[in-house]
Amino acid sequence: MIGNLGAITVGGINNMGRFGRFVWQSATASFRTCASPHAYSLIWTQMNIIGVRSVPVVMITGAFVGMTLAVQTYGQLAAMGLEERLGVLINIAVVKELGPVLAAVMLAGRVGGALTAELGTMNVTEQIDAIRSMGTNPIRYLVAPRIMACLLLTPVLIIYADLMGIVGGYLVSVVQFGINNQAYWSHSASGVELWDVTIGVAKGFFFGVAIAAISCYKGFTCKEGAQGVGRACTEAFVASFICILALNFALAVVFKAIYSTFWPLKTLV
């Protein structure tokens, strides 16, 4: 039993080491890609596949988040006579936490799964070896454009999710529950700061890179056969999901510290 535990530990450390090296190679390849204009077409193609085609699913996710929040919280606020403040609650929750996290989770499922399946299939059919045999770095050709596309477009998709969450919450609150329109927006405007929106969008950069790096790594290291590719896709989604939640927690702590440090200076400005 101790032997098994040791083997699992060593295996886990080996995997972390390989993943760390893959991330380092991907990061350097991504910087080089930024400096070579002929690679922009590859990034553009991936932006279309990863970003543009994800817009509908991310917008639907955002809308339902806002609508559900309105339905769940209206009762409690109305009982205290605070229903006009529903907008603050919904919009803060959407732009700061739920919009970014749920949009990223949807992307991990839609984009991450597709990336792992595509690269995994290329791996088992020797297409990645073919790229290497032609003197091209597969990380630079395959991984860097995908990481750049996710890095650039995840924040934009989060903005879409936020917007639809705000609209969804507004429709349920004002149209269904009959909250005063002007009061709803004025409370929302006074309660949600630019800082809240900024940290929500900034999380998108981290989530995007994490989803792309994990999905590409799983694709590059997947085992032979249909079962190997399927397993890699599942592992990629689970790892991305956990990574998004862990990153969200870490970023919440960091942004809170930054806010606490610099907020007093705001009064001086």
Partner: protein, 284 residues
Amino acid sequence: MNHDKKKDVPPAGGGDGVIVLENICKRFGPHQVLDNISLAIEKGKTTVVIGPSGCGKTVLVKHLIVLLRPNSGQVYFKNRRIDNLSENELNRVRTQYGFLFQGGALFDSLSVTENIIFPIKQHCKITDWNEVEELVKAKLAMVGLDGYQNQFPANLSGGQRKRVALARAIAMNPEVVLYDEPTTGLDPIRSDVINELVLKLQRELGVTSVVVTHDMTSAYKVADRIIMLHKGKIIADGDADHIRNHPHPIVQQFIHGQVDEDDLAVLRMSGKISQAQFLPRDFE
């Protein structure tokens, strides 16, 4: 792995080998795939590597281009040690190779033309696209597929895919072309077309070829030299006549495609097992 970058002279006995393997050992987990292999691939000649499935032929050919790195031993290309180079340095060396993979390994998302110009786009600055189109046309004509420029790999048959992959492998006019089971899965006529292409490339472009196969008809047709691998070791090395008359029983068994006594014993055993009666399940 030995990282002695200064040692750039191939060992004695490498002769005029364009690629030299010296004492190559490769292990995957507990399984020893290549066991102390030393080999010099002669310039301008076609070397065929034969052996039963799973004996390490593909692993051997991947070491020639350092797609796999040995656990021990050295690989030399044109008198320069390459197994200890970084991937970036290797990429420059690999432009002098062409590699035809067993399944073709064409990129599904790219058309035939885009597949063929892939290495050119990666390594050359294209100023005249008409010239590139002419080159694609010439390479496809060479493999008998002119007119298929705009097709995608999914629309091609297995033989056509292999021929397009061959056109891609020779797009940069490489000095060495490695073929991994080029005739596997093809009908005899298509197999012969591939054999003729291998010979044509050697005649017209003077390329050095290494062909991995277990198709003896193909091996006899294209080989200047045949090497047989068995359990990770070279057990026979010579021209086609030498291999035909080789005294080693495993070589004779392989080239004549005969089962051995052990296999027959297993078949007899499985015959007894297959006589066991299984009662059908009652479905209501």
